[in-house]
Symmetry: C2
C-alpha cells in the first residue's frame, strides 16, 4: 500500500497557508532539487487514459518574460517570480499522438507496440472522439493542481494565472505552428515581504465545508 | 513565508508510487481524521477569482452507488472504494452566485458586502462572460488534482473516473433541477491486494522530462 508521508494535520496547515501570491520577491531563487521535484510533479500528474496531452513550458529567458507581461494584464508575477510555467495542451489528440504514447509505454514496460494493440484501438475508439481541446485543457488543470499543492508542500509560493492572452502567448512562445496551444500559466517563487494578500493579513475566503461537500 | 513540510525526495516518492487504482478493497476504511483533511483539500483548492464553482458530492448510500455502477461502464471502483466523490460544477456563473461569493467573503473578512463593490463589479465584467460550463469544469480539475495528491500523501489510493455518464449521474444524484452538473468522479480508499496494476508490477508510463517540460 501507499506509505502515508504526511499527517492530516500537516496537510491542513499547508492547505490553509498557501495562497495566490500577488507579489513575488525577484531576488529569491528556488533551489535546484526543489525545482526538479516540481517539474516531476507536473510530469507525473495523472491524465485521462494516461495520454498526457501537455507541454509545460518554463520561460527562463528574461526577454521572453518581458514580452509576455503586456499580454498578461501587466501582472507582475510574470516577470518577478523565479519561475514561470506556461501550460500548453494538444489542440486535438490525433492518431500520431496515440501512436507515440503507445511506443513510449511499450518501451517503458519492455513490450513491443503490437502487444498494446488492444489498448491502442481502445484509445482510438473511446478516447479520440472526445479528446478535443476542452478535454485536453481540463487534463492540464489536474497537473496545475499537482504543481500548486506540491510547491506549497515544499515551501514554494505560486500564483495560477488564467488572465493571459493565449493567442499572444502562442505567438511569443512559437507555438502557433505546433500541435499545442497555451492554456494558462503558473508563477513559482517566493512572496515579497510587502505582499498584503497573505492569509495572515487577508483571511482566505472559502464557502463552508457543509455547503460545498455534500453527502448523499 | 510558507514552511516546507515535505522534502523534495519524499514528494518524488509519493508521486512515483501513486497510481490510478483499478481494484479497491471494500473492507478497508479511511480513518475519520484523514477523510476530513481530504474534504478540506477540495474545499481549500484554488479556483479562478476564488469563485469556487463546485460541489463535491460524497456518495455514502450503498443503493445510490449501486445505481451509479451501470452508468459508469461497470467500473468496480464505484462500489468497492470506501469513498466516492462526484465532482459537479455550475452550468454558468450567474449574478446570484457572484453575490453569494461576495457576501461569504465579506463575512469572512469582517467587511460589509458594499466594501467589496469594486471586486463584485470586476467579477461581473471580467469573469462572468467567460465562466461557462467548460471554464467551471476546468476549475474543478484543479480540485481533482489537490484531492488526488493529498490522498496519496496521506496513504490513500484514488482513481479519477471520467468514463461516466454525466446526465445519468445528474438524474440519480438529483442535480437535474439545480445549477450544478456532474463532471467526473474520484474513488478513494485502499487498493485490493490482487490489483495487478500497481507501479511495482506495471511500470508507470510517462513521457521523458525533457519532452514534456520545455525550457525557452
Amino acid at each position: 500500500m501507499l506509505q502515508a508521508i504526511l499527517s492530516p494535520a500537516d496537510l491542513l496547515t499547508t492547505l490553509g497557508e498557501r495562497y495566490a501570491t500577488k507579489k513575488f520577491d525577484p531576488s529569491k531563487k528556488i533551489p535546484h532539487e526543489t525545482w526538479h521535484a516540481l517539474e516531476e510533479s507536473m510530469r507525473l500528474s495523472p491524465s485521462s487514459f494516461g495520454i498526457q496531452p501537455w507541454w509545460f513550458i518554463v520561460v527562463d529567458t528574461p526577454e521572453i518574460r518581458a514580452r509576455l507581461l503586456p499580454v498578461s494584464w501587466g501582472q507582475s508575477q510574470i516577470t518577478d517570480a523565479d519561475r514561470l510555467v506556461v501550460f500548453a495542451t494538444l489542440k486535438q489528440v490525433e492518431n500520431k499522438h496515440v501512436r507515440h504514447y503507445i511506443e513510449d509505454m511499450a518501451q517503458t514496460r519492455g513490450l513491443r507496440p503490437e502487444d498494446l494493440a488492444g489498448f491502442e484501438q481502445m484509445l482510438q475508439t473511446a478516447m479520440m472522439p472526445k479528446a478535443n481541446i476542452e478535454w485536453n485543457r481540463r487534463q492540464s488543470y489536474i497537473a496545475m493542481g499537482f504543481l500548486g499543492l506540491s510547491a506549497a508542500l515544499l515551501g514554494v509560493d505560486t500564483c495560477m494565472l488564467e488572465g493571459i492572452d493565449p493567442t499572444a502567448y502562442d505567438n511569443i512562445l512559437g507555438l502557433t505552428d505546433t500541435d499545442y496551444a497555451t492554456v494558462a500559466a503558473v508563477a513559482c517563487g517566493y512572496r515579497a515581504s510587502e505582499d498584503d494578500t497573505i492569509p495572515e493579513k487577508r483571511a482566505k475566503s472559502r464557502f463552508p465545508l457543509d455547503e460545498v461537500v455534500r453527502h448523499v
